[in-house]
């Protein structure tokens, strides 16, 4: 299909779309309005599916034909620079798969799980509205402008379309989001593995397995990715099964039982070593495993939800929309929109959409299918994560996601506190769930991964194995998340290292040499210590770390989306398509309002649970009186809490400054484009194909 068809005129086509729209409306109505009876997850899936279909069919078509005017006759970078290596005109389904694999990560699995504390409805609505009007729009338009600019990167395009100062600001913003992302992802792994010998053993086992695969793919059967991956997968499953023996044998279990602090240090050391090792030995083979495992699991989960058709136990809207929730602090606006970033709108995708994907597109019109379509699919992953978190008993959900400082450390205390919130649960039920999934406790396992794992175990064991395999599925889910998080940590450390070398290289030319060992080690050490600092701070945080770091990550990710959408807006004005600029202006403003409000509250709210500065003041005041506040045990620890608060506050302030300055540069860019009577967008490859 090489042309974009105008809306079908046949009566049948309109009838079908009417049915889809009505079905979606009914499903949404059931999801939103049922109160007394639990809603079945299939209704959520139906509502989401219909929204995606209608949005793709109508809104993305409008963007493709009216706003962007995608042109099949233009040469794409893949066609013009075809080298069979980086630039390869590729079948659109193949590019779709590649793009989806690159954008789908841990984000859409974690955010919705945390957001479930407000009930499933606010999260569901934001994911659906967000993806249709912000996330997919951003991915699609960034991909479009990159395709029209020789597949150049986001930073490059900001420099050429908006100026060199905004270019540098955007680069610094990207580096900061990388650091926070790596810290928060590493923290999720630490939270999932602390005190879990089964999980720790299986995740540790991935290292020798990956090395074995690496050696096989390098020397035994070079380049046989499929063979390597099958070998790795079989060993991985064996690792999960043997993990149970490890957990049940006290001597072995002792070898793999660590506190969070120890795991954090191990991870930091690992991050350093892994990113200076040759890529073929560890990083690449684990990348293969995690990519395929991730996609397989996502499909399995989708199938599981449809087959088992579980009921949602979480209320549609919980009492915690008022901001007093234990999982993250702050009211529904703005914090829900910060907590669920990926799945609704993720600025990070702007980097992917201006990375390898534009080098593969054979026809500009496929930008719609790949940019808009793949993001809809990612959004569906977020919907599934929300479902998985909502099918487990709400009492258990809060037991897993509340910090120990709030619910205590025993099942009895936790059950009492949580039942007091109105989510009745018995201590026995909590112990039973822990036992079912093969753990000693499920209390305060925040970070999303364990909750998702329990939800997935609940769903998948309904398809295969029943209760007997619940523990296997739980650890499978933990392993699958840990595996691709570790791959991201190690690939991300490398990317951060190159960025640091690039930034430092402008002052210190010796740092720029990526082949130099010294420059390599220095930049890697800088990258690792930056995310390591936030990781360690998160692990020792009284509120469980996720509470502090996830909002920072969300703000950073939405900040990047606001930057990308600002660029898109400026480009639309420079193309003289300002009539349609509301398509990007509306989501830009919404994201700016959310990030700036959330940032402001993180800085200046009176509530120490929300604001870094209020928290610091409370601890400083106690410190001045010589009092020690829990969980700090010494005055020195009190001091550290205060310093951490100021570091977080400073970071938050920088994010806000980045957003504000990019908006100002955006306005300047718009004014200039508006004042110029001719098209000023710097596109390349205007030559029309003579086909």
């Amino acid at each position: 299909m090489s042309t974009i068809r105008a809306p079908g005129n046949s009566a049948l086509s309109w009838l079908i779309w009417l049915v889809v729209a009505l079905l979606g409306a009914v499903a949404l109505g059931i999801v939103a309005l049922s109160r007394d009876e639990p809603v079945n997850a299939v209704w959520v899936v139906t509502a989401a599916g219909c929204v995606y279909l209608v949005a793709y069919r109508f809104y993305s078509l409008f963007i493709a034909t009216s706003v962007l005017r995608l042109d099949a006759r233009r040469f794409t970078p893949a066609v013009r620079h075809n080298d069979g290596l980086d630039y390869v005109p590729t079948n659109k389904w193949v590019v779709f798969g590649h793009h989806f694999a690159a954008i789908a990560g841990a984000g859409p699995l974690v955010g919705p799980v945390l957001a479930a504390q407000m009930g499933y409805l606010p999260g569901t609505l934001w994911i659906l509205v967000g993806v249709v009007f912000a996330g997919a729009v951003q991915d699609c338009i960034v991909l479009f402008i990159s395709v029209r600019r020789d597949a150049r990167s986001l930073g490059d395009m900001i420099r050429s379309e908006m100026g060199s100062v905004p270019g540098v600001i955007a680069l610094i913003g990207v580096l900061m989001i990388m650091i926070i992302l790596l810290a928060v992802l590493a923290l999720i792994v630490v939270k999932a593995l602390a005190g879990s010998p089964w999980g720790t053993f299986t995740v540790f086992a991935t290292i020798p397995i990956a090395i074995l695969m690496g050696i096989y793919g390098r020397f035994v059967r070079p380049g046989r990715v499929a063979e390597m991956s099958v070998i790795g997968f079989v060993l991985l499953m064996a690792g999960i099964i043997y993990g149970q023996t490890v957990a049940e044998t006290p001597e072995l279990a002792a070898l793999f039982t660590y506190r969070g602090e120890t795991l954090a240090l191990i991870l930091i050391g690992y991050g350093f070593v892994a990113s200076v090792l040759p890529v073929w030995l560890l990083l690449a083979p684990r990348d293969y495993l995690s990519t395929f495992l991730k996609l397989g699991t996502v499909f399995a989960l989708a199938l599981g939800i449809l087959v088992v058709a579980p009921d949602l136990r979480m209320p549609a809207i919980s009492r915690f929309v008022d901001g007093t929730g234990p999982v993250f602090s702050g009211t529904l606006f703005p914090f829900l929109f910060i907590t669920i970033a990926c799945g609704a709108v993720s600025g990070f995708h702007a980097l992917i959409a201006s990375g390898t994907t534009p080098k593969l597109i054979e026809n500009e019109q496929q930008v719609r299918f790949i940019g808009y379509g793949a993001m809809l699919m990612e959004s569906f992953v977020a919907i599934m994560a929300l479902i998985a978190a909502s099918v487990i008993e709400p009492g258990a959900y809060f037991a897993m996601n509340s910090p120990a400082g709030v619910i205590g450390t025993t099942a009895a205390q936790a059950a009492q506190t949580i039942s007091g919130w109105g989510f009745v649960i018995t201590p026995d039920a909590l112990t039973q769930i822990a036992h079912d999934v093969g753990e000693t406790t499920i209390l305060s396992r925040s970070g999303g991964a364990p909750t998702l794992a329990v939800g997935m175990a609940h769903i998948l064991s309904g398809v295969i194995g029943g209760k007997a395999l619940m523990a296997f599925w739980y650890h499978f889910a933990i392993l699958f998340e840990a595996l691709f998080i570790l791959t991201t940590v190690d690939a991300g450390t490398r990317v951060a290292r190159f960025m640091i070398q690039d930034l430092l290289g402008t002052m210190l030319p010796a740092m720029k040499r990526t082949e130099s060992w010294a420059a390599n080690v220095v930049a890697t050490a800088l990258a690792v210590s930056a995310w390591g600092y936030f990781l360690y701070q998160g692990v020792t945080d009284p509120l469980g770390g996720i509470n502090t770091l996830w909002p920072l990550f969300g703000i950073a990710n939405q900040m990047l989306a606001a930057i990308a959408l600002t660029l898109c807006t400026v480009v639309l004005f420079r193309m003289k398509r300002q009539r349609y600029a509301w398509v990007t202006i509306a989501p830009t403003l919404w994201l700016a309002v959310c990030t700036l409000t959330a940032g402001w509250q993180k800085l200046f709210d009176a509530n120490p649970a929300i604001s870094f500065l209020s928290h610091a003041r409370r601890f400083s005041a106690a410190l001045a009186d010589g009092r020690v506040l829990a969980p700090a045990k010494t005055l020195a620890e009190m001091q550290r809490v205060v310093i951490n608060d100021y570091v977080d506050a400073a970071l938050c302030a920088v994010f806000m400054a980045v957003v504000v300055s990019m908006l100002v540069y955006g306005l300047i860019g718009i004014a200039r484009a508006f004042g110029n009577p001719s098209v000023t967008a710097k596109e390349v490859g205007g030559g029309l194909q003579t086909v």
Partner: protein, 73 residues
């Protein structure tokens, strides 16, 4: 009946090929046959990387500076 199955065979084969291509590209490995064909068509006089060298080259590229190893959160 038989004929219908015969007709399906090429599309099944194409589907399998595309699936393999997708899986490889997901981990940063473009199609080797396509690369060889491209070189033969555009630079017939120049040497072509062997399958192994191609694999190593693409692996180093994916995780090198400015490579495509970047993945989302």
């Amino acid at each position: 009946m038989d004929c219908k199955l015969c007709d399906l065979a090429p599309s099944v084969r194409l589907f399998g090929r595309r699936l393999k291509e997708t899986a490889n590209l997901m981990v940063g490995l473009p199609d080797y046959e396509n690369y060889v064909a491209h070189r033969a068509a555009t630079h017939p006089d120049q040497p072509v990387m062997t399958r192994e060298a191609f694999f190593r080259d693409r692996q180093a590229r994916r995780y090198g500076a400015g490579g495509g190893g970047l993945r989302c959160c």
